[in-house]
């Protein structure tokens, strides 16, 4: 009878021990709880085992609280960075809409036979492409920089051409206004590019600098295969057990 009880308790204690380590035990939890309520010896065992477990936990070394210093040096991504991107996205949408609208607008009657229709379509395709470029830069800010030469070049040439055309009276104010959208897009592109250009990558920590004086060492790199006896791999203990007797 007492033998049976002993075996029984051993299995419950195995469950308690496993639960302490956060591992699955051999018995269902409810059954263990029911036994624990009725068995003072197992309650005491669990209590002592938990105290033993706590006593084995190594005290973490005291380290200064660097939270404030770290937060100061590495500010969290701010909302400001979103503002420019959202604005850039909106301008990109407007620019795309403009390009799309150009396709749909009916061509001038006299333009039809001067080959200007294709020119108009080409212009529409350009405007649409620029809009897509701005949208892409809004979605992928790191791509903003690569588009700068294209946009800046286009804006410069278009600006010079516009001045010439305006002085020659060949272009209306409404048409010129649409170029303003492009200019806004270019400015936002520069802003987004600058904001996302210098996000410094954190320097990798040198793991060797964190070396501990822990007594317990991990097995050597050139140790034999894992199946080999483990006991000889713990330097804390001599390879052969020596008994005084």
């Amino acid at each position: 009878m007492s033998d049976y009880l002993l075996v029984d308790c051993a299995l419950f204690r195995e469950s308690l021990s496993a639960a302490m380590d956060g591992e699955a035990g051999p018995l269902p939890e409810a059954e263990v709880d029911r036994h624990l309520r009725g068995c003072g010896a197992c309650q005491a065992w669990q209590d002592q085992a938990q105290r033993l477990r706590r006593s084995m936990v190594r005290q973490a070394p005291e380290v200064p609280d660097l939270t404030a210093a770290i937060l100061e040096r590495a500010p969290l991504p701010s909302r400001e960075k979103w503002a420019a991107r959202v604005a850039l996205g909106l301008v990109g949408l407007a620019q795309s809409g403009l390009g799309f609208a150009e396709f749909l607008l009916p061509a001038d009657a006299h333009a039809a036979h001067t080959g200007a229709i294709h020119l108009s379509n080409e212009s529409a395709a350009w405007n649409l492409a620029l809009g897509i470029g701005l949208l892409w830069a809004a979605l992928r800010p790191r791509a903003a920089g690569a588009q700068l030469p294209l946009f800046a070049g286009f804006a410069l040439v278009l600006g010079v051409a516009s001045v010439i055309d305006v002085s020659g009276g060949q272009v209306g104010a409404g048409r010129l206004l649409t170029h303003g959208l492009l200019l806004v897009g270019l400015v936002l592109l520069v802003v987004v590019h600058r904001e996302h250009r210098r996000t410094p990558a954190p320097a990798p920590l040198n793991a060797d600098a964190l070396g501990t004086d822990d007594e317990v060492r991990l097995p050597e790199q050139d140790a034999p295969a894992p199946i080999a006896p483990v006991r000889s791999r713990f330097p804390r203990r001599p390879a052969s057990r020596h008994r005084a007797a």
């Binding site: 051993a10 204690r13 195995e14 308690l16 021990s17 496993a18 380590d21 591992e23 035990g25 051999p26 065992w45 002592q48 085992a49 033993l52 477990r53 006593s55 084995m56 317990v216 991990l218 894992p226 199946i227 483990v230 006991r231 713990f234 804390r236 203990r237 057990r241 005084a244 007797a245």
Partner: protein
Amino acid sequence: MVLDQLVHALDPERRDAFVLTQALGLSYADAAEVCGCPVGTIRSRVARARDDLLTAMADAPPRRTAVG
């Protein structure tokens, strides 16, 4: 430390399971792989090692004792 001596005095298989899971912090599954035995074996060895240690600690006075 007395606990070190008591751990050393454990049965080698139980000691391995105990040191791997408690001192090195391996999971039972990892410890089983290291030892080349089933997880359930590790589980029972850890429990028995605990049992042995508690018994030994109850027997030995808390002060450092000379171990021959």
